[in-house]
Symmetry: C2
Subunit: 361 residues, 2 copies
Amino acid sequence: MPRVHNFNAGPAALPLPALERAQRELLDHDGTGMSIIEHSHRGKAFEAVHNEAISLLRQLLDVPDDYHVLFQYGGASHQFAVVPLNLLHAGRSADYIITGGWSEKAYQEAERIGTVRVAGTTEVDKRYTRIPRQEELTLDPNAAYVHMTTNNTLFGTQWHWLPETGDVPLVADMSSDFLWRRIDVRRFGLIYAGAQKNIGPSGLTVVLARKDLVDGGRKDIPTIFRYATHATNNSLYNTPPTFAIYLVRNVLAYTVETGGLDEVERRNRRKAELLYGTIDERPDFFRAPVEAASRSFMNVVFRLPSEELEKRFIAEAAREGMVGLAGHRSTGGIRVSLYNAVEVASVEFLVSFMRAFASRG
Amino acid sequence: MPRVHNFNAGPAALPLPALERAQRELLDHDGTGMSIIEHSHRGKAFEAVHNEAISLLRQLLDVPDDYHVLFQYGGASHQFAVVPLNLLHAGRSADYIITGGWSEKAYQEAERIGTVRVAGTTEVDKRYTRIPRQEELTLDPNAAYVHMTTNNTLFGTQWHWLPETGDVPLVADMSSDFLWRRIDVRRFGLIYAGAQKNIGPSGLTVVLARKDLVDGGRKDIPTIFRYATHATNNSLYNTPPTFAIYLVRNVLAYTVETGGLDEVERRNRRKAELLYGTIDERPDFFRAPVEAASRSFMNVVFRLPSEELEKRFIAEAAREGMVGLAGHRSTGGIRVSLYNAVEVASVEFLVSFMRAFASRG
């Protein structure tokens, strides 16, 4: 079967050369006579891969020296618990900015662990169609941290500015737009991102964390949940998901080889421009619920005139080799995920299909 | 490079046909035009793999209907915390039987969470050379559970009987001997096993748990740590490590095709017999510290007359294509891991090398 156009929301498309490298090397890693999957996490072969992945992340994002780069397991849902377990000290409160289903979940999990406040929400009738403005936030200057979700996969919104939080550390769930472009890591106290959107397979989470936050983290929690445990052991306290780290290494190495994050951003902007441009050409047919200034470059959501047409759209697109276009089961409609590995050519193919579909009505 | 003889302690050797299948299918899973890694965890293609893996586990171990089969992340170290978080209710105490470094760690993590007792230990001078006898255990009939480690990778011991715990549920860390043969699941309240020894890559943990224990688990803990959360959602509450589950499926399917656990046990017994037989032939040269009745079928540890000879043994074996023979950094000596995927031929090769090495002195 020829390769499809994969618009999945995550796990999602990965760069073909990174997968081809994995395929080529799968039975014999680097001339060692065994698979990377069969290597000890304490051996030289894996250690080289592990450290290369960390150093590629540092290089791509210019991660400052006073930040740890950690590999964790369990995805964002695990971090929803682990962030407050580490950072929400007794007697303190944390601020959560709610911009979609995932920030709701992060808030609810934190609520089970300590004192939390909603510092702002753009929810209207259980929907979120925009990112809040600074003046809509009521931030507690004494908060332990402010939590935000930089990109909202369900509702197709994305922050294009960062809230001003003064001395309060900003904690960001960046699972769905991590590495979509350069960011200024210094603006954040802690960033976490499940790998399965932009950088690799599911089962691995990258955490960038300011060292003082890690060192000052709560000590009265299980050892395995402490960021400090993983920081002290270079993310090798326990056996990490070695193949996932290997594949992230392949993706990051490929990213560097092909122009780094500037080139990634250029392609991502081009793809979003193509798709939103096509939606905006036919406002009578394609209805984009998201406020223009809050539109996501990663997940583009829109509706057609009827659910009947939406079903037909998804089915016909599938027949032409385009998959992953159904909106989240909680929202319906169409969702097109444009993660880093989705090719510009796939979006060109999609928009020409969209134009033809809209003409046929 | 030809395939080496891989005696790694974990991550460890996997069956070559399971890896070859992964390699063949890596770019195009089941004619879908994308990698299994790129499939949504909520799509039909992955769902089929996920459910097949669960059903193969049920079939291989005759898992009774009143037990859940769950996929978790984070390995045994994560379970060290999650077991007491779920099962150690306020006002209760749990019993831990200590037979090596991993049970020590399980105990220490549980101690941070609730009240725990040591119900038995075979530690002498920080070493463990045997499994306790029933009469050495001081079990609390009111304990929330009794925790044991069925096989001890560092010290090379293994339980060949099960402690009688009455109505108290037995919780077993089976990471290093899971599926080495059939077991009677009914003897256990809960079993957990990191995949990276006998059944797959690191990053995935299998949990078999009696439904009443899951249902009665603590509700005042973070949602993601509750077994009940994962049970209710067929281990799809959050994005699971999809490729790890896929590869476990390959290993389990291959196990069934090649004769199931009876054949696995037969081969494992043959391998251990060959290796312990060789050790016992030359007690003047090979010193096996473990009491005969407690010897592990999975990890065989022994010493040579000097550390100098041990270093030479490991280096010469490596030159002949045998890797993973160094003992754990905390114990030294030689350790040979004989997990399911290690071929009888590899052990034959090793023992003939051992005999020649011992003759040379």
